[in-house]
Symmetry: C2
Subunit: 361 residues, 2 copies
């Protein structure tokens, strides 16, 4: 049994024993769960990370409004323990179905909607201070990676440099992956699959000795954790490459600082060292991309104003970039670099940015 | 240079030479392009496939309404020839940017929106009778696969049985893949990634000697072509496993007969032999899944009525299934099988369906 499985089962048992003792003492059994409301999400300026504050909510059993949630939370805890003991995994949707049933002699279901079980899963994650993946509850899967790296996963030895055009599909759970060989000088994280395919076809990762990873949009948990592990365990710099618009900037910030929704696990998913390699609004001028820009929509501008107010975008250079977006009212996609020639991104743009260390922090 | 590249370049050159000769004869140069309007999409009852009819449209140069489209089509043809000669690929979006420019001394752009270049790409695909992938223009990428299969792709030898939990990410273009070893008795195509992860974790493909593939929703072109190649080149039966609802049924039909939008390439992407393994509406009763069904929405019922009228769903058993959906007004997702226990799908449902050959055709 893997070390983390023992540790998580132990935490689950402590939770159960504590409740059991409360009952034995004749008390109303209750759990204390860190509050996940927006008010309790704070940006830690010292650690430079989004995290939860100290507010906690009580969830007790003899309470008309809380009894159901109390029982649901324990159902999830018990389900997770079964998963860990059998060493199998379930998706959030499977977990919902597996736990959903009608209580005997009633019309009452354990869970009616997946929202309810999802929310209990996050509560448990926060309370026990473990990752959902360590409870063997898997989030959705997205993302692919190539590079001069050999890993071991489920007993298979996988060479990321020998996977043809497809690359390795990043699973939702990368906790158990063992790195056998990591020959790379940095990790390049690309927002979009098309740009990743271009760089892969041009063998960018071979020439520049990097690990090339695409998140295929907003980074899924598996990819974020993988980026973090590569950064922390191998001291690899991480460069994030996205569209030049508020969504691209936010994708970068989630990889770096964590997200508002998952503030309680920023430290386990965030990569503080990550740097933004582009596209910046300034790049559009420097690299003559104006011809291939797209007009920003009202909703994009609105999003930009939101970004301006986020603590973690308060740095001068980010304020400048975001304001430039609002002023110019256009954006550039990664693919717009193809306007300068298909290989422009591989042979000119990225090598120059890296050589000049032209990054935003 | 790969054989197909020579062939496609030849076709492009024939198109060019033909126009050149028309011009030399003093004619108004024109191309004949098969019409892709709904009226020209027919269901071929003999071949059991969606295909285009015989209607063609003329696209000529000296015609105020057609001159731009004429030139755009030739721009795409010329761009594709460059890609093939250099043996590189471009995504549809990259192609758009790479071809977009403002004509000298004018405000006229070659292309304003990606729709325009996409449409020309399909026109070229239809006219030349080649796949977009063979023009090196790549569609979006989705889907993963595992199994006892060894392939060669871009010089890498890839063993699909040794890729850990992630599997091989199916690229958008599978034309150049060479199969070195295929040890399998059938291909199981799973609509959803979560269900695929369950089956992969339970080693279903090892025990049942199959190739396990997920399309992650509606099947992308790369996955459809891969399924077809496995079926045609290795005589492998193909079983499709989707949610029990009109969208799931349609996913199956697209893999089998092709889609309305891409009717012109059904023969190059469709797998006529594919069979539907479930979930059927009847399965919901047989396998006691009623507790985990979801109420159908109005839009689902509306979609079901559309399906009833498609030629390729006119078979008695499909009419029965679709009508049952309309009558019961509920659907069951793949994950609902978890209600019967997480391993129910691996140990009971699929083995029984396969043993009893309980398929819909």
């Amino acid at each position: 049994m893997a070390e983390y499985i023992k540790r998580v089962i132990e935490k689950l048992e402590i939770l159960g024993k504590d409740l059991f003792e409360q009952i034995n003492r004749g008390e109303n059994p209750r759990m204390l769960i860190p509050a996940r409301s927006l008010k309790n999400v704070i940006f830690d300026k010292k650690e430079f990370i989004l995290r939860l504050g100290d507010k906690k909510i009580e969830r007790d059993f003899f309470n008309l409004h809380k009894a159901k949630k109390f029982m649901q939370t324990l159902l999830v805890a018990s389900f997770a323990k079964e998963l860990l003991k059998e060493n199998i995994h379930a998706s959030l949707r499977e977990a919902f179905y597996a736990m959903k049933r009608t209580l005997p002699n009633s019309n009452e279901n354990t869970f009616d909607e997946q929202d309810e079980s999802d929310s209990c899963i996050v509560d448990l994650e926060v309370t026990l201070d473990v990752l959902r993946e360590q409870l063997h509850l898997n989030a959705d899967t997205k993302g692919r990676v190539v590079g001069d790296v050999i890993i071991e996963d489920r007993g298979d030895v996988i060479d990321w440099s020998k996977l043809g055009s497809g690359g390795w599909a990043i699973p939702s759970n990368v906790e158990a992956i063992e790195f056998k060989k990591v020959e790379a000088e940095f990790v390049l994280v690309v927002e979009k699959n098309a740009a990743w395919e271009r760089l892969h076809e041009d063998k960018f990762w071979k020439k520049h000795k990097c690990i090339l990873l695409t998140t295929q949009g907003q980074a899924p948990r598996g990819a974020r954790r993988l980026i973090q592990r590569l950064n922390q365990e191998f001291n690899l710099p991480v460069y994030v490459f996205t569209d030049s618009d508020p969504y691209g900037f936010y994708i970068y910030s989630v990889i770096k600082y964590g997200s508002i929704n998952l503030a309680h696990i920023s430290d386990r998913l965030g990569t503080k060292d990550a740097k933004f390699i582009g596209l910046t609004m300034t790049d559009i001028e420097t690299y003559k991309l104006k011809n291939w820009t797209i007009k920003a929509k009202d909703v994009d501008i609105k999003r930009a104003y939101e970004l301006l107010n986020y603590e973690w975008f308060k740095k001068k250079h980010w304020q400048r970039e975001i304001n430039k977006f609002i002023e110019k009212k256009y954006k550039a996609e990664l693919e717009s670099l193809a306007g300068r020639g298909l290989k422009f991104v591989t042979e000119t743009y990225l090598p120059e940015k890296i050589k000049n260390e032209d990054f935003l922090d």
